[in-house]
């Protein structure tokens, strides 16, 4: 197979369309994501952000258009042309998906350590000592006390669960992470810590990420580029600072103006 094409974008989204019955949830969405880049998708509830994320993450096939991912061995490939086994392998190795609710992304009835090392085990690692060290290392990296390794996530706080979810996803060193409102439902100081951690890890590991959020401050802090969605369409896209400081589209202006100053 051909090696990964370095001159191609990591993710290429081409005129993606998705309908629920007669309602159009996504209409002609196109963008490119390059390695190491973080793209924020902002917009109000019901604007199609989560649908877009599900289409990108291989969870919902689009009704039109294509999602191409630059495979490690094979170059750009439409993810919906892969077999289900290949796509699932991709989601376990090169991708991560951090859910809004940690309970959706974690196994709540097994220990934190087991949550972290589930992916390496799925890839065939069968050495307990190495797995244990890996789990400890990753708990430390996401600032969870390593002595909690054998506790179940049910005993964890909301912020810890979210960090555990991040560790569980990043343990296989993916190249692309989908973040679905990772900070909503957390109080502001915990949010700040989590954002700090995310920023550090994405920079350290050179991760590309698609970040869905309704919080413009989160977008400003983490994202290189931002895309504004309204009623399933991308109304404006550009560099985050530029877009937030000088919004061009009336809807973006409204969004920026709606943020309450503290």
């Amino acid at each position: 197979m051909a090696p990964s094409d370095a001159s191609a974008p990591l993710l290429q989204v081409d005129a993606v369309r998705r309908c629920y019955g007669t309602r159009v949830a996504l209409d002609q969405v196109s963008f490119e994501l390059w390695p190491g880049e973080i793209l924020a998708v902002v917009g109000e509830s019901g604007s199609g952000k989560s649908t877009l994320l599900h289409v990108l993450a291989g969870l919902q096939a689009p009704d039109g258009g294509a999602v191409r991912f630059n495979l490690r061995d094979g170059g750009p490939h439409d993810i919906y042309c892969l077999t289900e086994g290949q796509r699932r392998a991709l989601t376990r190795t090169d991708w991560g998906l951090v859910h809004q609710n940690a309970t959706d992304g974690l196994r709540m009835n097994v220990s934190a350590g087991a949550n972290v090392i589930e992916r390496p085990m799925a890839l065939g690692e069968r050495h307990y000592g190495r797995l244990r060290r890996l789990a400890l290392e990753w708990l430390e990296r996401v600032e969870i006390d390593p002595s909690r390794i054998d506790d179940t996530p049910t005993t964890f706080s909301g912020g810890m669960r979210q960090r555990l979810q991040i560790a569980r996803n990043l343990v296989t060193l993916p190249r692309l992470v989908f973040l679905d409102e990772p900070t909503s439902g957390l109080d502001v100081s915990v949010q700040a810590k989590l954002l700090d951690l995310l920023r550090r890890l994405t920079r350290q590991l050179g991760l590309a990420a698609v970040l869905v959020t309704h919080d413009l401050a989160v977008a400003r802090l983490l994202a290189d580029r931002t895309m504004v969605m309204q009623r399933g369409c991308v109304v404006e896209a550009g560099l985050t600072d530029q877009l937030l400081d000088d919004p061009a589209h009336p809807y973006t202006q409204l969004l920026v103006a709606s943020v309450l100053p503290p």
Partner: protein
């Protein structure tokens, strides 16, 4: 104590041979053939209402009924013993509905229906071991969605199975699963061996006998054909091992069998005895070379 000592059971002429009707038996045989073709794969079948409750071996009984012939000799064990309630009643059930010969002798049986044990006496070619299975899906505890576990089996994604083993080691320092220990069949399907002790797992590997598994409530049949590899899952640095006892069987002195702990009074006295009653009785009847290390107090 043995079936022979009980009152003779008369064949009931009002029910079909082996209780089930012929169409049902054919349906089960078709499921069995498919199961044998795909070792370890769970095949759905139309499980029937049986005249005893789920959990008492309805799956095993239906499999036995489907494969039983008039000339076959049947042995039924429960926890290794021929004289426990389930074993006695299932044996009588088939004597009454099929009029077949029964035995407690492992070597003489053509079909052995079992719950919780594989006989200590090695099985031979031509014999069929029928297991009663309460929970056929090995991943059920970690992944309750049947649609998802089917997908995991189909794509051979078995990382989840090791999550449970990891949890054991993290919590107890060793793999604490002692029964229903998951196995990989023919290098492809992970299978629940039914609640046999892991002590019996090595006996499944390349066994000359055909092994059939029936889960009545869950409506699944699966199989391990003769001479098929059956590997118990483990970690590289925590290999699979079976339990060992410090004492020998108090009745026959066997040191190589699975022992049950018997409480003999309310003063705390206990003894360890073979769970396989036929194996133990044979050793006691024959010239037993090794004396019991300690007798009943």
């Amino acid at each position: 104590m043995t079936a022979a000592q009980q009152a003779p059971v008369v064949r009931d002429p009002h029910v079909n041979f082996a209780y089930l009707d012929e169409r049902t038996k054919r349906m089960i045989r078709r499921a069995l053939l498919k199961a044998v073709c795909i070792p370890g794969h769970q095949v759905p079948f139309g499980s029937r209402e049986m005249p005893l409750p789920y959990g008492w071996g309805t799956g095993g009984i239906q499999v036995t009924a489907a494969i039983l012939g008039p000339a076959d000799t049947l042995k039924v064990i429960d926890q290794g013993a021929d004289d426990t309630v389930n074993a006695v009643n299932i044996r009588r059930f088939f004597q009454r509905t099929a009029g077949i010969a029964v035995t407690t002798d492992t070597t003489r049986a053509d079909i052995i229906q079992t719950r919780h044990r594989i006989p200590e006496t090695p099985l031979r070619e031509g014999q069929i071991l029928v297991y009663q299975v309460p929970a056929p899906e090995p991943m059920q505890r970690l992944e309750p969605r049947r649609s998802e576990t089917r997908k995991l089996h189909g794509l051979a994604e078995y990382g989840l199975m090791h999550v449970k083993l990891y949890e054991d080691i993290a919590r107890y320092g060793h793999i604490a699963t002692t029964y229903d220990y998951p196995v990989l069949v023919n290098g492809r399907y992970v299978m629940s061996p039914s609640p046999i002790p892991k002590f019996d797992n090595p006996k499944m590997h390349r066994s000359p006998a055909l092994q059939l598994f029936g889960a009545g409530r869950e409506k699944r049949i699966y199989a391990v054909p003769p001479y098929t590899s059956v590997a118990s899952l483990a970690f590289d640095d925590h290999p699979f091992s079976v339990q060992r006892w410090e004492s020998a069987c108090a009745l026959c002195g066997a040191t190589d069998s699975f022992l049950d702990e018997w409480i003999t009074d309310d003063q705390g006295a206990r003894m360890f005895v073979c769970s396989d009653s036929h194996y133990c009785a044979t050793r006691q009847a024959g010239a037993v070379s090794t004396e019991p290390s300690h007798g009943p107090e």
